[in-house]
Symmetry: C2
Subunit: 233 residues, 2 copies
């Protein structure tokens, strides 16, 4: 089973980075795409679409990246604070903590007798007891050191890369309507490829994954296009 | 300990909705604010700011809400698939699964002797065994039914409410510069209140929470403003 366990751990480590990439890329491909399409619906100049798109990409990358950084830092602080509390409780309220272990085991139909060797060991090893409570009572995972910064850069970078796909045509192609057409085609292809790649990690079928991300991007763009045309057209 | 356990469960249920509200509101207050400020930096007409802002809010709410819906649905599918796999493994590869339990316990310094009553019970109750493996081997929480839709509406709704705060001044006030000033003041106040309220759930100090969200919003807006002025000014 060592091989499988190794595999499981690899899976979890990869999925943190993958989740961050997915978070950043999904919104980066979708929101600037929809914004640019929406502004095209209001028939503004190409220059305005580019300015708004660049402003949106900068704002989105900073908001999501810095937001991710602060969230990860907050999680790490929360874990440390809960761990200190749990360590104090194990020392000062050992009887209550014992009862909590019995309750956790009881959820799986395990009786008091089954807990006894576990409790006996934990009285010898408070650190192990606390680690056990953190995971099995509170459901908290030990945060990886350095995760916050890596997470921020991954999310923000993915947002910028994703956002440049729909925006590049407006920068490179003369005329609003031709740029819109190329942007829609390029971005739908990118959304489909991204959704198919993402499906490898979420375990749904590749085609379904591709359809889902294209649907989200398409719906967001259509809504933005229609609203913008209605207000500003 | 019943009271504390009850409290813990309440805490977890609340935090799902709170987390969704925070996700939607944080980006809703920040990105449309920064976009509007950025476009003001490029000195476009107020009408363009409103059109771009409304398009962004629609796109962001759909992308984040629908994205949240699909993510929650994906989690539920993933849980169901992994549970089927574990059930099969418990039936067909009982010895391997036994070894996995021994490994899980070994992480906390518990020896084989301590596992024996647990293993004996699980051989009588495969469902409990699988539930135990889902939580303690794979670290997966049972998904709440109906969570996906509730999550989507909460995130999307919070994004719209948050996004209307910075945009309303451009709709109501004549002239780009006065509207920008009112938008900046209103949104910084809203970001501060939101950050302070959020800090109650993340366990950091209220002042620090307020400063953090104002900092993210301010930085995103400043970057968008300067970039937009540089490109389009």
């Amino acid at each position: 089973m060592a091989a499988k366990h190794h595999h499981t751990e690899k899976h979890f480590t990869a999925s943190d980075v993958v989740r961050d990439l997915v978070i950043g890329m999904a919104d980066g491909l979708t929101v600037p795409f929809a914004l640019a399409a929406g502004l095209s619906g209001a028939v503004v100049a190409s220059r305005v679409v580019v300015v708004a798109g660049v402003a949106e990409i900068a704002a989105g990358a900073i908001a999501m990246g810095l937001g991710g950084y602060l969230a990860a830092r907050g999680d790490a602080d929360h874990y440390a604070a809960e761990r200190r509390r749990e360590l104090r409780e194990v020392r000062e309220l050992a009887r209550e903590e014992e009862r909590e272990i019995v309750q956790i085991f009881a959820q799986y139909g395990l009786d008091h007798e089954a807990c006894k060797p576990v409790l006996a060991h934990f009285h010898q090893d408070h650190e192990a007891w606390v680690d056990f409570m953190m995971r099995f009572e509170l459901g908290l995972e030990k945060p990886e050191p350095g995760r916050a910064l890596r997470s921020a850069l991954t999310i923000g970078g993915a947002y910028i890369v994703g956002g440049l796909v729909p925006l590049a045509p407006y920068m490179l192609i003369e005329g609003l309507q031709p740029a819109l057409r190329v942007s829609v085609i390029c971005t739908l292809i990118a959304l489909g490829l991204f959704g198919a790649a993402k499906s490898r990690f979420t375990g749904i079928g590749m085609l379904r994954g591709a359809m889902q991300t294209m649907f989200v991007g398409g719906l967001a763009s259509a809504a933005a296009f229609l609203l913008a045309r209605w207000i500003g057209g």
